[in-house]
């Protein structure tokens, strides 16, 4: 039993590797199933959306964060609380548009791509596109329609990974017909 002592592994780190590897297996499967990268990107976004609409509940329940007053506050919560909680990273928020309806998240080290190299024939694949769907889905559940896309990606040779978020509109609560 003396060996037990050197079997100390950082279980939290391993858990994020489990996530990374599972995500990798999913992307691999999608690339097999679909003929072109566009379709894979679309599918990843759709799956991310499904995750987002459920993840927001987990997030609100655990973070006890209330409604955001403006888009700047939203940006802060996403970067400093949500990304930290779920991916263990804190992206920086930059490149605000003058109107304050658009900003960028700069990801220093994207945990989804930890063990990834894109082969040459997948140059248009947006590997981490799931994240866009997650952000879009989660924000939609708190009445915000937002456009999310990758502007830069280190996997495709850019210097940084940048997610661009643009506020489209506030979604009005639909009262059921006849309900005053």
């Amino acid at each position: 039993m003396s060996r037990q002592s050197n079997r100390t592994t950082d279980s939290k780190k391993m858990n994020s590797e489990l996530f990374t590897l599972t995500y990798g297996a999913l992307v691999t499967q999608l690339c097999k199933d679909y003929e072109n990268d566009e379709e894979v990107n679309k599918q990843l976004d759709k799956m991310g959306y499904n995750i987002g609409v459920r993840l927001i509940e987990d997030f609100l329940a655990r973070s006890s964060i209330g409604r955001c007053q403006d888009f700047r506050e939203t940006a802060d919560v996403i970067a400093k609380v949500a990304f930290k909680m779920y991916l263990g990273i804190t992206p920086s928020v930059t490149n605000w548009s003058p109107a304050g309806d658009e900003f960028s998240l700069i990801l220093e080290n994207n945990p989804l791509v930890d063990f990834v190299e894109l082969p040459d024939n997948h140059s248009t694949l947006i590997y981490s596109n799931l994240l866009c769907g997650v952000l879009r889905g989660a924000l939609e559940m708190v009445q915000m329609a937002v456009d999310v896309r990758f502007a830069q990606d280190t996997l495709r040779g850019d210097n940084v990974t940048e997610i661009r978020m643009k506020f489209i509109k506030r979604i009005e609560e639909n009262l059921p017909a006849g309900d005053e």
């Binding site: 858990n15 599972t22 499904n50 459920r54 779920y86």
Partner: protein, 158 residues
């Protein structure tokens, strides 16, 4: 550090995807299970590589199984296997009384028919992990009352 919620949600989506993509085709249930299992296999291979990086060589098969029950399970599901039994002829039964991927689902017989979907990926995980430790195996799972489940590992003698 990364939280477990993303993995659970991702696992759900992976499952949904595999089953939905089969709806419009001719594929039957077995193929889907196999697909999920194969994805798990690949992940298990990767994980065990990372996990055993600094561990000493294993003494024997039982030692490997113990490692799977303790360290591997703790790393993936945040708890150890509750019970490990073997007939000393290459069959091991790993019992988890509160399997993480089922515990949100039900505590009884409700949805029992859906349980296999939630286990296939994990069967692959175990098989992949064992495979990279040089043990060829067949892993199956069974559930009688959720969230408890048993994984049976049959070692293939070469």
């Amino acid at each position: 550090m990364a939280d477990e919620a993303p993995f659970q949600f991702l696992h759900n989506e992976v499952m949904q995807y595999i089953y939905k993509s089969a709806e419009n085709g001719e594929t039957e249930n077995g193929r889907n299970i196999a697909k999920l299992e194969n994805m798990g296999f690949r992940v298990g291979q990767g994980l065990i590589e990372r996990l055993t990086k600094d561990t000493a060589r294993f003494k024997d098969e039982l030692d490997i199984m113990k490692f799977i029950c303790k360290d591997f399970w703790t790393c993936v599901f945040k708890k150890q296997i509750d019970n490990l039994r073997t007939n000393h002829q290459g069959i091991y039964v790993l019992q988890d009384n509160k399997f993480r991927l089922l515990s949100q689902l039900s505590a009884g017989k409700q949805y029992l028919e859906h349980a296999p979907k939630y286990l296939a990926f994990t069967c692959g995980l175990v098989r992949g992990a064992l495979s990279n430790l040089g043990v060829k195996s067949i892993v199956t799972a069974e559930v009688s009352v959720m969230p408890a489940c048993k994984f049976q590992v049959m070692i293939q003698k070469i």
